[in-house]
Chain length 111, copies 2
DNA sequence: TCGTATACTTTGGTATTCTATGTATATAGA
DNA sequence: TCTATATACATAGAATACCAAAGTATACGA
């Protein structure tokens, strides 16, 4: 299992990335992440929903209740323009840190 | 500047990675990270030293005071066998999360 | 009717983070 | 001589983030 701090650091990026592809709702996002990561990243609902609320408060995503005929309503989230910008910026940060790590891993151990 | 949570999530990996290359001490590690990241990642000393203490408590690194002729003593850190194993494991986690993000970024936005 | 899957919410204790502050020394430059 | 800057390490405690746990609600299959 992926450690918590790494999960936490990638949450925003993952949610915004998924919503960039199309609107979705909490429960489905959790399943999507589990699927994409081959089961190695698992978000509990108690972990994900507060993050969604927070992203909405920041104006990066927008929610809308959608009624279902045969089930309870779902709260669909959509990425906003600001959210898209934020995604680009955060992605750059991630890629940068990744390249620093790659550089370190290239270093030969001196012995 | 790289956000804090991302910095935090990569700290362990970065420190262990640098020490794998050869022994070093706090002050130099801070400078090394700044250099490797082109100035985008900056650790304050107050941020780094507690992490070093913590890694030592976990047995991933080992410290030794080294006297200097013309300056104050330095506390050199070396990576332990456990530290090397941990580095490999953590690296796998990072690479895995990175691949999940890459997969998400590949997705075409449906519109 | 019981278990499971779906679906969202919130509280509050715990853990983590990191700012601010302190200690100490050497050297360059004004 | 005084000051600033670089070197070098340490820690208290305030602030923040995290997330497990518990709660609410509905549908459906066994």
């Amino acid at each position: 299992m992926i450690p918590k701090n790494l999960t936490a650091a990638s949450t925003k990026l993952i949610i915004l990335g998924i919503l960039r592809q199309g609107n979705s709702y909490g429960y489905l996002i959790i399943k999507k992440i589990k699927e994409l990561s081959g089961g190695k990243m698992k978000y509990s609902d108690g972990m994900l929903y507060p993050v969604l609320h927070n992203l909405e408060k920041e104006g990066l995503i927008q929610s809308e209740w959608v009624m279902q005929d045969d089930a309870r309503p779902r709260k669909y989230y959509a990425i906003t323009e600001n959210g898209k910008k934020e995604l680009v910026a955060e992605r750059e940060h991630w890629v940068h840190v990744n390249s620093v790590l790659e550089a370190i891993w290239q270093l030969k151990p001196t012995k």
